[in-house]
């Protein structure tokens, strides 16, 4: 027992020493990220190779990372915060966790509606929340808009995932911002009334349910369908082939988009490396990888989109300020709860 204990203490000591000594002189950048895609790991490696700056990653949900940064305060080791939605970046900014970055490269690449007014965060990729419809049973021209989903004809035919999902919350926030709270509340209630089943599963499950005729329409992010089309699983592949993609609201404000984005931490110990890192993620090379391996829409317009994205075609996007998504997020959740959208 004593020997075991000694061994344990020794190992622990050894491990923590190694931790502390090995990276003192090295250039590094500490990333707090909510993205856990394979494409990202590939990009981190590429950045290390190109710059010699070591990338250290902490992977957790944005809310946990934000809480961690709040508690760590001025001594926080975080250099960059990456989230998968604009709302969380807005929240990080409100909590004064980010700082402005001046970079002529970023200024020239990222359009105004895809970044913070004070340059505290920048979009890395765009995602569109679209309607996936059963090709065999639905005439896509009848879908029209998010607002039109409450129509009688879709009763019992809508497949939606839980309202705890951030993409649904952002969509709702955009409805509040565009149509006002009252209209949004009615919309959520009517939508909950049109559901084919109680919300469960993830985006992929909704697509499968459409293919298996549990419903006709599902509201999902585009890149999941892209990934399903590449899947080795027969059910996923066949389901994705059976659905078409419709970009809603093309006749008015455009399809709701959300972003994955990054900002430099207020107390970043390696600020220059952090800026270089974000610039790298917006370079053509990195953006091409985001697009081709994760089917996200690139922010850098010089980059050619993945073939699949081109096939889905150009669409008009809702240019609503992304800050609004953060601003109305909480309101969106409360309205969801009141509407009984689980």
């Amino acid at each position: 027992m004593k020997k075991l204990l000694f061994l344990a203490c020794f190992t622990l000591l050894l491990a923590s020493c190694e931790e502390n000594t090995s990276k003192d002189e090295k250039q590094e950048v500490n990333i707090y990220t909510h993205r856990h895609y394979e494409s990202d790991q590939e990009l981190f490696k590429l950045f290390e190779e190109e710059t010699g700056i070591q990338v250290n990653v902490i992977n957790a949900s944005a809310d946990e990372l934000i809480q961690k940064m709040v508690l760590e305060g001025a001594q926080s080791p975080a250099d960059v915060l990456i989230t998968v939605d604009a709302g969380r970046l807005f929240r990080a900014k409100e909590k004064e966790l980010l700082q402005s970055v001046s970079s002529s490269f970023l200024d020239s690449i990222v359009p105004t509606h895809l970044k913070d007014e004070q340059n505290q965060w920048f979009a890395l990729t765009k995602r569109a929340r679209v309607v996936a419809y059963a090709k065999e049973r639905v005439d896509p021209s009848e879908i029209i808009s998010y607002e039109n989903l409450v129509n009688e004809e879709w009763k019992g035919k809508l497949l939606l995932r839980s309202s705890s999902n951030i993409y649904n919350q952002s969509l709702m926030a955009s409805i509040i911002a565009n149509n006002g709270e009252e209209a949004a509340s009615l919309w959520a209630k009517a939508l909950a009334g049109n559901m084919a089943r109680s919300p469960k599963g993830n985006d992929r499950d909704q697509v499968i349910a459409v293919a298996k005729e549990e419903g006709d329409l599902a509201v999902v992010n585009t890149y999941y369908i892209g990934k399903m089309l590449q899947s080795n699983d027969k059910t996923e592949l066949e389901s994705a082939q059976k659905v078409g993609i419709y970009f809603p609201n093309q006749d008015d404000r455009g399809t709701h988009i959300n972003i994955s984005g990054a900002g430099v931490a207020k107390y970043a110990p390696n600020k220059e490396n952090a800026t270089a890192f974000i610039e790298f993620l917006l370079s053509e090379k990195a953006q091409a990888i985001f697009s081709s391996s994760n089917f996200e829409y690139p922010v850098n317009e010089a980059v050619e989109m993945a073939d699949l994205l081109k096939q889905w075609g150009e669409f008009k996007e809702d240019k609503l300020s992304l800050n609004k998504l953060g601003e109305f997020n909480k309101r969106a959740v409360i309205l969801f709860d009141e509407a009984g959208w689980k």
Binding site: S16, D63, Q67
Partner: protein, 542 residues
């Protein structure tokens, strides 16, 4: 009794073990107490909304989950633990350890595996397709399905702690009872089962705490529980303070349950002077048909908890093998193993110290307070992480301020991570240890002390050998739990440490459930070898 009297009594009884207990508690329970104190800060402004619109639904679901899981584990698992200890039947040796393995499958992976198995294109639908039925799907994504999935992924707690009791205590009691002419069945129901109560409850409390704080599986199944409420307030309503408040409420609830249970059994004595062990020679051998029935009954939880998820994971692994697998996995396994091993040693040690220090101290309230130490298991890991970070960051920042350190020494290193694990898993070690210590007849250590032996000496000479089975069980449970632990690992891990559970989660959270199969299988693989080994030790030492 006047106030003065009780004060004097307190002074008289306050010995060095009281100090030691309080000190240990301070180390272990600070994160829990940190959260506890937040109860007095009150919730955030969304509390009104939560209590009005959501709470009833959340509480109802959590209540039914707890009831179903209790029912399932008591019905299947206690009987199973008894059958594998008392009877001889084919495959018994293998089934014994297989009954522990379901614990190694993270709850949310179990949920995905079952949903996949019963979904379109899954194992069941293929069989049914072959029978001519198209598009078959058994929908388990509801509160019943969730209870089922959580029960089978957690029943091993009850199995391990109950079996440790059966192995060490049951036989001589049973033989005495049989000799007095009582039938096997009556002896079991009238004698063994009531005596097994502390062990069963010990396991059951772990199951319930884990069920109540499950997040991944509940969220995927779309079942709103108290814990989904905690995360909704934190992540969606942007109020960490409300999340912590809800967690603190959960703590109060569970702490009262534990105290009620303790109060209810206060007059009962569970100790036995002697321990014995079941060997092959005194296992009962039934007729062929009897053996077949037993085999079927014991196979049921093994098939549900181990074979079916294993099958599903293997199917998925075969589809993603080329994309996911590389030799990095062996290094990941090694790291996971090392961390789990260190954690298990520390946790068992702390649990042991806490248990005995509080026993040797004479003040009843301090004994009760020791139970605070185990509450870390009742709160979601992500909230524990906050409870860990607040006090440790305080020390870290203080050290930087004083010039003792240039950067964080506790946070961002293994120290914070292992500390967090110990806080979280103390219950997992404490429960089986306590239930096995309860069974040590107090008269032996007492007479040893009367004869002039100190507490420590008595412990090592007399009690230690008697509770070895409990310690081994505790070690196995903590080891497996650490292997699959997720939220704490994500938030507190050092940059360069990676575990299999993190790898599995990276895929699963990206909706690449099939890709998560290979890391999940590696978790099982990493768990199997020590489980078989420790199971052997347990049988020898029993």
């Amino acid at each position: 009794m006047s106030l003065q009297n009780s004060f004097l009594k307190l002074r008289r009884d306050f010995n060095r073990w009281s100090w030691s207990t309080l000190l240990l508690l301070a180390i272990i329970a600070i994160p829990v107490i940190t959260i506890f104190i937040k109860l007095f800060d009150g919730p955030g402004e969304s509390w009104g909304h939560i209590s009005k619109v959501l709470l009833v639904d959340y509480l109802t679901n959590s209540f039914w989950l707890a009831v179903f899981c209790t029912f399932f584990t008591l019905l299947f698992v206690v009987s199973t633990a008894w059958l594998v200890t008392r009877y001889e039947f084919p495959l018994r040796k293998h089934l014994e350890w297989m009954l522990i393995i379901p614990l190694a499958v993270p709850g949310y992976i179990m949920a995905y595996a079952y949903a996949g198995f019963l979904d379109y294109g899954g194992g069941v639908s293929q069989v049914v397709h072959w029978l001519g039925v198209e598009n078959f799907k058994l929908d388990i994504m509801n509160v019943y399905g969730l209870s089922f999935v959580l029960s089978i992924s957690l029943f091993s707690y009850v199995y391990v702690s109950t079996r440790a009791f059966f192995l060490t205590q049951a036989v001589n009691l049973l033989e005495a009872s049989r000799m007095l002419g009582t039938s096997e069945r009556t002896s079991f129901f009238k004698l063994i089962l009531p005596l097994a109560r502390p062990a069963i409850i010990a396991g059951l409390i772990l199951v319930l705490m884990e069920v109540l704080n499950d997040y991944g599986a509940a969220q995927y199944f779309g079942v709103n529980t108290f814990t989904t409420g905690i995360f909704r307030s934190w992540f969606s309503l942007e109020e960490p303070e409300t999340a912590i408040y809800l967690s603190a409420l959960l703590l109060v609830l569970i702490f009262s349950l534990i105290l009620i249970e303790k109060w209810q059994r206060r007059k009962m004595q569970f100790s036995s002077a002697k321990i014995s062990r079941i060997t092959t020679s005194n296992r009962l051998v039934l007729s062929n048909f009897g053996q077949f029935v037993i085999l079927f009954w014991v196979l049921l939880p093994v098939v549900l908890g181990f074979i079916i998820p294993l099958y599903q994971l293997l199917v998925w692994a075969s589809k993603t093998f080329e994309m996911v697998f590389d030799d990095g996995f062996f290094w990941l396994s090694f790291q996971s193993f090392g961390i789990a091993f260190i954690t298990a040693i520390f946790t068992v040690l702390f649990a042991l110290l806490l248990l005995y220090f509080s026993k040797w101290n004479k003040i009843y309230h301090i004994q009760n307070a020791a139970k605070l130490g185990i509450l870390g298991y009742a709160i979601p890991g992500a909230v524990v992480a906050i409870g860990i970070m607040i006090p440790t960051l305080f020390i870290d920042k203080w050290m930087i301020e004083k010039g003792i350190a240039t950067k964080f020494i506790i946070n961002g290193t293994l120290i914070a991570l292992v500390y967090a694990y110990v806080v979280r898993f103390l219950a997992v070690a404490y429960q089986p240890l306590e239930s096995s210590a309860l069974k040590v007849n107090t008269s032996i250590p007492d007479s040893s002390k009367v004869l002039g032996m100190g507490n420590f000496k008595t412990f090592f000479k007399i009690e230690f050998p008697l509770i070895k089975a409990g310690m081994l069980s505790a070690f196995i449970l903590v080891f497996i739990d650490t292997l699959k632990e997720l939220p704490l690992t994500l938030i507190l891990k050092p940059y360069h440490i990676n575990t299999l559970a993190v790898k599995a989660f990276e895929y699963a959270s990206d909706e690449m459930v099939m890709h998560a199969a290979i890391p999940s299988l590696f978790i099982i693989l990493t768990a199997v070898i020590p489980v078989i080994f420790l199971n052997k030790l347990l049988l020898q030492h029993g």
